[in-house]
């Protein structure tokens, strides 16, 4: 994947209404791209992968995306 494709992937992740993600890091590899970051639901991981496969059918896309945890805080910071 060249630098221009990397740019297009980044723009697509933000501007495609099905993804609208600005916080995902696109890491170029020898044979494709790895997406790294966190999203708000498992459905969004699948959607991102699907949108990229549709736009870049020949590109090998690996997703290293997690769903951000929503646990209850156990600590309080004194300011």
């Amino acid at each position: 994947m060249n630098e221009y494709t990397e740019g297009e992937v980044q723009q697509l992740l933000t501007e495609d209404p099905r993804t609208a993600e600005q916080g995902i890091r696109v890491v170029r590899t020898d044979d494709g791209v790895v997406l790294v970051g966190e999203v708000e639901s498992p459905e969004r991981c699948a959607q991102i992968e699907s949108v990229l496969h549709e736009a870049f059918p020949g590109l090998k896309v690996r997703c290293d995306l997690g769903v951000t945890r929503v646990g209850v805080p156990q600590e309080v910071e004194q300011i």
């Binding site: 609208a20 966190e38 708000e40 639901s41 951000t68 929503v70 646990g71 209850v72 300011i79």
Partner: protein, 240 residues
């Protein structure tokens, strides 16, 4: 509950139908954890009315007051007035260069909020110069920062919190690519925070940033973007 004022905060929750219900178990415990919940912008994905209804459903009807500012995602569909109205109808106070005061066991907690904007940080920032587009960009940052300063200075309270979406300092951006810092915040926001005796400044927007920082005037800054804090909300205790 201790005698200090406990402020819970989270930003960048990007709620749509697929997120409704995820935060709720943690939010149901808020009454035991905090006195107020601050939402630091990017409440929705695209700023639509439907998404705003989802935010109101997820973050409305809690045991504590909820105070929010909007973020850039919430502006995307050009429906800011409608989004704001839906949130307000759901019991969420939305600030934009304005303030609210809450009575917390006799202590007046003042919260002044604004979305903020970009431009960069002292000595390495854009200026109101050149093309109309560049001038408009920085003019907006200056306007919003001046509005936040005025709101912070005017609010009559015992303890004061500044709520923004964009960052006032570079400290809490560490982890983000340096190249995008000018799109993540502005030092003019820090100047606004430092113009009043502010106890805490809270922001979101920088998903890959760092939680802790401080303004040049020494006000503690916390980046509460959800991917940064990695839990439903953080809690900070302020002593008047």
């Amino acid at each position: 509950m201790s005698s200090g004022v406990r402020v819970a905060a989270v930003g960048d929750v990007h709620v749509d139908r697929d997120v409704v219900g995820r935060y709720r178990p943690a939010l149901e415990e808020l009454g035991d954890k905090a006195d107020v919940l601050l939402l630091a912008g990017d409440l929705t994905r695209h700023g639509t009315a439907d998404e705003a209804h989802c935010v109101a459903e997820e973050f409305g009807n809690l045991a504590v007051p909820v105070v929010a500012v909007l973020g850039n995602h919430d502006y995307h569909s050009d429906e800011v007035h409608l989004v704001t109205k839906i949130l307000e109808d759901g019991g969420i106070t939305v600030l934009e260069q304005s303030s609210t005061v809450l009575d917390v066991r006799g202590t007046r907690l003042g919260i002044a909020g604004a979305k903020g904007f970009g431009g960069g940080f002292a000595g390495k920032c854009a200026s109101e110069f050149g093309e109309p587009e560049t001038k408009a960009f920085i003019h907006h940052t200056r306007d919003v920062s001046n509005g936040l300063a005025a709101a912070l200075q005017a609010v009559e309270c015992d303890v004061r919190v500044a709520l923004m979406h964009y960052s006032p300092v570079p400290d809490t951006l560490v982890g983000e690519p340096l190249e995008i810092y000018p799109f993540l915040g502005s030092y003019l926001l820090a100047q606004a925070v430092d113009s009043a005796p502010t106890a805490l400044a809270v922001h979101g927007h920088a998903h890959a940033g760092t939680e802790r920082g401080a303004t040049p005037g020494g006000v503690k800054v916390r980046n509460v973007a959800h991917p940064v804090i990695k839990q439903a909300y953080n809690v900070y205790e302020l002593t008047p």
